[in-house]
Symmetry: C2
Subunit: 474 residues, 2 copies
């Protein structure tokens, strides 16, 4: 149970943070009260923008005393409404964007300490200036912040080799729900002092602590990349190809995306200046990329494998990008799928994962289940096959009013998708998190054992429930 | 607060588990009531040896209802008394050793599901029979079990490349303190459904749940290895060498151990049939190993780097093992350090980590601090430099009665070691855990923020405190 902030508390916060760090002005706050997709809208008594970890700690102490709810926010580019306050007007928006210093880059150790408000793209550039690379990227890189990426355990297109955010976090600094500062920034490769708070805070969506900074692993900047576009018969063939390349090439293989012909068609239809990499249509396509020191070495590693895969009938056709420009064009096709799909009309999006082995079966069977219940609907599955994670989208039957149809049947459709995912031991949120969007479906579908444990952790760490209440777990 | 088991509860447990699964016979239980080093002794009302996850769940439900404490135990090869009950006689020993099935090996996905009681060495052999390798090994492999290794987040000599146990755990099955079964065995590479229970249970020393099985990553069996013994001037030189090799060779570099001449001398003195790999003495030695597909490729990767390091004056001398036998001989020198040291007399052992960059400074400065306070004492630092983890041992001054001296000054000596570690942002337990041995020192030295969070997690998940009470946190 939390309360509305008193005038006296707001006065204390304003005095603490000064005019740059405190605003109750409706126009100033407005852009941050709606998520970027315009799905969630909230209200806030004020927006707090601390400039330091100490200021965050002071805010949390004041709010803990008064039992006032805080909603942490980074770049406001999340997919599940996790950073949007509720509509009571009693919550305080806690923006970390002013904490945007890169405190340290250690080239020899390949580590950097970045504050929560550092924008991903800025961090990429900073790493490159040191001859290094931060190997996590995603569509929202121009607005997503380090704190948000840690708090949502973000994924992206390089997870295959480098893992999700938690694999890249060497240390963490956070303000806990009692206002104390947890300084876990020291990059310890081995640390067995009990429960791992770093992993606990990573992906906790700001419900257990406010991440204020992270120590992050970097990798050497890649001098060369080799990008291939491949036509295949089926997700099974794609998975076999992935396993072969993984065994033969290993580390340099950084990306492996699965794309159905229908997605490619939509991109070609709606996105200007795009062309199909291969001359013929194929049921499925794979976009893969290797990164390394020399183009020649990457070619020697990849090309014979692809030739052998053609000979074995595992792939139907392949083209290798002949320039950086062509690599970028290939990736632009992949990155434009969401935009092209929006142009096709409304769709239900499901960000799900299952064990990698089971993904081809899911992709084949789930559409059949859905079509049995809802004749005429269309499905699209694309994305990170190598991570067992596809974006599984469902479009209404042709000829109906899409928005009306989805309003009526959307929940039932998603129910069939998620039930299938749960059957296969999968996750109803592979990379976007739970936030407010999936909170109730999680409570419905997850096992009682797991839900009870999540609630126990939340109650143990934030007994007053002041950090991002209403998100993740009810 | 927990209670002694009633006669009725013990009867229910005996009926549940049958004669193979229940014993209250003092002689049968005795070997499991003392840790393998003979440092900790306890008592138990009975030893429970369930054969299935369902039996574990039934045990925990009965004990949760009665508020009776359970002490989980695997191979009883831990280093900090974490699996030894207290001396009240009210606790129940819960042995997982009968749960020793390898449920599944998936060669294509390189995953295996092993129950908690599977012994590490058995698991190694089973993986090899499938052409695969489980890349974690340590001295106690003949008795250490998968459940214990997960619960203590075990390390060993291959952490440099493959990480500690948590990096190898793809999924986990555990019985939670309320007796519910958490089935998280499905190997999901991406799963953002809130707090990561897998990482939370890993390293929790059985205080948050009883790990009953794990899904574990395997790697391809290595056809070749290349082992080098190298003389260097200092830990700084060793660290520079590691950084160079890591950048130039990367993945195949699997082991990098630092050994002072004094350790080598002790081994040569006390362990029969050992000889120094290099003809001359050097202040420090590095034992490194590469693993891969072909001896030739490993040689082409390593040898020019070592030649260049000699030319650059970074290393003083090097010898490369010319046979499997010679590789084994090199590793035997490393693995015999503890035994040789015991033969030298009693010593205080500290298993600590600091950020890797700071390790050379710690190794240089800590002995000076100690000798200022305790003239004449001798120190030894050896181990996993690449993990920022050394075993830092302190021997009494020559000529005193070692045991008496340590009884009098040991706590003060360790206090100086741990204070220095904390100053550097390090960990007072790098790989052995906290158990009962370091519980009080953790409570004294760790930050209030972190301790409060650990207590919150424990209270939230195990409010009655029935799982391994008295370990890790008070």
């Amino acid at each position: 149970m939390t309360y509305a902030p008193s005038t006296s508390l707001l006065g204390d916060l304003a005095a603490l943070l000064g005019p740059k760090g405190y605003s109750a002005d409706a126009d100033t706050i407005a852009p941050w009260l709606t998520d970027w997709r315009g799905k969630y809208h909230g209200r806030a008594a004020a927006m707090l923008s601390p400039a330091s970890t100490d200021e965050v700690a002071a805010i949390v102490r004041l709010c803990a005393d008064a039992r006032v709810a805080l909603v942490p926010q980074g770049g406001n580019s999340g997919m599940v409404g996790g950073a949007t306050p509720d509509d009571s007007g009693d919550q305080l928006l806690l923006s970390l964007r002013r904490m945007n210093r890169i405190r340290q880059v250690d080239e020899a150790a390949r580590l950097a300490v970045a504050e929560a408000g550092v924008i991903l793209e800025t961090f990429h550039h900073d790493a490159l200036a040191h001859g290094l690379r931060f190997p996590l990227t995603l569509g929202g890189k121009g607005s997503a912040t380090i704190g948000g990426l840690v708090s949502t355990n973000a994924g992206g297109t390089q997870v295959l080799r480098h893992g999700t955010m938690r694999a890249l976090v060497a240390g963490i600094e956070a303000v806990l729900p009692d206002g104390s500062i947890f300084d876990g920034l020291a990059p310890l490769k081995k640390d067995n002092r009990g429960y791992d708070l770093r992993h606990l805070l990573c992906g906790a969506e700001g419900t257990l602590g406010i991440v204020t900074a992270a120590c992050l692993h970097l990798v050497p900047a890649a001098a060369a990349r080799r990008t291939a576009w491949i036509g295949v018969d089926s997700p099974e063939s794609a998975l076999l190809l992935l396993r072969r390349l993984d065994a033969a090439i290993g580390n340099p293989l950084e990306g492996f995306e699965l794309i159905p012909q229908s997605c490619l068609d939509a991109v070609l239809r709606h996105i200007p200046q795009t062309r199909a990499p291969l001359s013929a249509a194929h049921p499925w396509h794979v976009l893969l990329e290797l990164a390394g020191d020399s183009d020649q070495a990457l070619g020697e590693a990849l090309d014979p494998q692809l030739a052998a895969a053609i000979d074995a009938g595992l792939i139907r056709d392949v083209v290798i990008a002949k320039s950086e420009r062509e690599s970028d064009d290939f990736w632009r096709l992949r990155d434009s799928i969401s935009e092209a799909e929006r142009a096709e009309g409304p769709a239900l999006q499901h960000d799900i994962s299952v064990p990698i082995d089971l993904m081809p079966a899911f992709i084949a069977q789930n559409p059949r289940r859905l079509k049995r219940a809802f004749p005429g609907i269309r499905t699209l599955s694309f994305g990170h096959l190598g991570d067992g994670n596809v974006h599984h989208h469902v479009q209404p039957p042709a000829g109906v009013d899409g928005a009306t149809w989805l309003a009526e049947h959307g929940a039932a459709v998603s129910g069939l998708v998620y039930a299938h995912v749960v059957e296969l031991g999968g996750s109803i949120s592979a990379e976007h998190g739970i936030g407010q969007m999936k909170r109730d479906i999680l409570a419905e579908l997850d096992s009682p054992a797991r839900l009870s444990a999540l609630r126990g952790v939340k109650a143990g760490l934030d007994p007053a429930g002041i950090l991002n209440p209403g998100k993740l777990i009810a």
